[in-house]
Symmetry: C2
Subunit: 437 residues, 2 copies
């Protein structure tokens, strides 16, 4: 056939991994899933595409510009850009079939047609958990969430990370007390403290025409320091007479107390009054998580408490609290920072290599190993033995099992440890017990 | 807020499950993945959207009409409609980074804008494995594939199913010998034998203007019966002097012999000369799998051997063999046929219910259980005890652990088996060992 060849490429902004990398990526997904399930979250899976009317109910802003949207026949379709809007629609739609508080996890791909740039993806995995109450949801739930973050990132192999916790009511009440009506722009400026530093935050506040003495109070407030308990005490001593502030402070005290009870070491969480989360969506507790030695990566797990999940789709009042891990970006950044190691990654534990005339026995042994739960490949191509060992080596398969005439006669088979090069003749049972260790 | 409520619905043709069902669905996905990995297949994950030029390189036919296609900026984008075209592009693109034979599995969603009807989905999971050779691929691989089908469906809980095997070369050579130039229309007619019966196949052949004596030979051929060995012997006795036929017959003999060696019981596979697979894509061995007591469901796992995977994207000759399970449709049909049972499905093993004033201890116990790998939920809402038990019951959680003052005093906690209603006071270690069994 003399057919035109189309250059095989993916679209810019779409991550695609080779199998070694994919195995590592999947391991991370599995660890996240394992932890979410360990804390009693139920799985859901929603369509990647929905009616644009549903996904864009809130509308406006960057979301609307970035969304993948198209018509199929008469239907105006959009691809989901997060897992929160589909959750809201899901809970409203299946309300009568669900049990509340509804703890759900959702791991899936979402789509944003962002400007392509390094480390930004147009298709990426989000790994979300949320706890949704029917009418109300106890504040203790907000204290359990950091323990799930902690457990997950520990299992992912991280030691030095900090879950930063704040409460939007503390900020909101503080601004009310200062007489600031619309605090959203100010919250956005404060949220950048970690990234741009205190002087630039001050400049941004000046650009927003905030009075100098109020800027002074804001700067003093967001620079409150000390241990978590000291920060809470200092907040109390500000004597701010505002109900929202005091409600937020009480919540923050409870959350702070129980985060420890839920098993998060004090090294791994901190109250940080500058964390506001850009989104106006959150109404109470907010979380961000940073790798202590790689704060440049930004928050690796964020979320918070919201009053009303699904107001666009139902009159039911559904408060909730949740977090999200953007795994595609996290994986990319860990990989770039050389914090992930692909060498020696293999799902296959052993490859059986039959010598000439020994295929039947080699197949028989492969059957036995697989029946015993051992991931086994059998090399079925003809060729030189060196090529076959080369195949095992390239795939990082830790053991080769040689099945030749001599082996069959003795009913003992040569197991080669590909790491050390050591070869031993063993019975099938010995091989199984070696591989099971 | 007095905002307009948008009715929360999904698009027609999109499956969405409630958590009980989703747990079952995920169990099936996990079993499939476990089996694919056990046979040494490597994971890949490709973007859901690609350049339309790539995905539609082959073009024409129903695929092109059904595909979701749209422009974003200047880019002509399509959503993948299977996992085979992305595999072809992937192997061509990453050729130098892969090790051949390349055994890959891919579990992911694909999209087809089919006419909406019961049991047809526009978004559905495919679970594919393929073995891709560089230049050549041994025929023994074709005999290993049925063992993967067998192992997977056994683990999925099926007993009575038949993997039907044929070889397109046997059919092709037979038609060449009959002097029929273009056999594709005839193959399509034959492929329907199971569905429409021999008389209707005869009519379809008449409509294709096939001579009566040739129709006679075709009907005789596709009705060859007996054991697999008898069928092969009868094929041999036809004395068809055609190279392609004889090549196909030799391949079919090898595949038949080794399917047994790979551990598939003779009850679970059968040579069936009518299996052609509608697609002209396959060039050798073909497979279809039927539930013996539910043949109306159609083939639950199909595939075959092809000469040239990626001719549109590379000059490399890449023969392969593979299969696909369409899990969304399979799940739907099993569910409809009441072959799946959602009652008593729970990922959570125990729910800890704190009595008033006992929250700290309840949290502490939950931490211990989770540390020991037990999926644990803790009930954090206030309310009557009956409501809390009701919550555990609705979620099918098998055990409730009550933490009250009396329990804390004795350091023994009340474990209630929700199935039997039996309550026992046990130490933490006793509880762990009970839950681990």
């Amino acid at each position: 056939m003399n057919r035109k060849i189309i250059k095989p490429t993916t679209l810019p902004g779409f991550m695609e991994l080779i199998p070694d990398e994919q195995i590592l990526f999947n391991e991370m997904l599995d660890i996240i899933r394992y932890n979410y399930e360990k804390y009693g979250f139920l799985p859901i899976d929603t369509p990647v595409m929905e009616r644009a009317e549903i996904l864009l109910a809130k509308g406006g802003g960057e979301t609307e510009r970035q969304v993948y949207r198209f018509k199929k026949g008469d239907t105006d379709i959009a691809l989901r850009f997060d897992l929160t809007v589909p959750l809201a629609r899901y809970v409203a739609q299946h309300f009568s079939e669900l049990t509340f508080p509804f703890r759900r996890y959702h791991i899936g791909k979402v789509y944003r047609g962002e400007r392509a740039q390094r480390g930004r993806f147009r298709e990426f995995y989000q790994c979300d958990i949320d706890i949704i109450g029917n009418g109300r949801l106890d504040i203790i739930n907000d204290a359990e969430i950091p323990s799930i973050i902690y457990s997950t990132f520990k299992d992912l192999g991280f030691e030095n990370f900090t879950i930063k916790v704040n409460n939007r009511k503390v900020l909101k009440g503080f601004f009310q007390w200062l007489g600031i009506e619309n605090s959203i722009a100010i919250l956005r400026a404060i949220d950048k403290l970690e990234k741009i530093g205190i002087e630039k935050v001050r400049l941004e506040l000046e650009e927003l025409n905030v009075d100098q003495d109020i800027i002074g109070k804001i700067v003093e407030f967001i620079q409150i320091s000390g241990t978590n308990e000291e920060k809470l005490a200092k907040l109390g001593r500000l004597k701010i007479e505002n109900d929202i502030f005091n409600e937020g402070l009480d919540e923050l005290k409870i959350v702070n107390k129980y985060i420890g009870a839920f098993g998060v070491p004090s090294d791994n969480y901190a109250i940080d009054l500058t964390i506001a989360r850009g989104l106006d969506y959150y109404t109470g507790t907010v979380y961000e998580t940073f790798l202590d030695n790689h704060t440049d990566i930004g928050s690796i797990c964020s979320g918070g408490r919201y009053d009303d999940l699904a107001g666009y789709y139902t009159k039911q009042k559904l408060p909730g609290v949740g977090i999200s891990i953007g795994l595609t970006r996290l994986f990319y950044q860990l990989y770039e920072a050389k914090l992930l190691e692909v060498a020696d990654v293999s799902l296959t534990e052993v490859i059986v290599i039959p010598m000439e005339g020994c295929l039947d026995k080699a197949i028989n042994i492969s059957n036995i190993l697989r029946d015993r739960g051992i991931s086994t490949q059998i090399y079925l191509e003809k060729g030189r033995i060196g090529k076959k060992f080369g195949f095992a080596d390239k795939l990082n398969i830790p053991y080769v099992l040689l099945v030749g005439m001599e082996e069959i006669e003795k009913d003992r088979y040569t197991l080669r440890d590909m790491d050390t090069g050591e070869q031993t003749m063993l019975s099938i049972e010995e091989i199984i017990s070696r591989l099971k260790n």
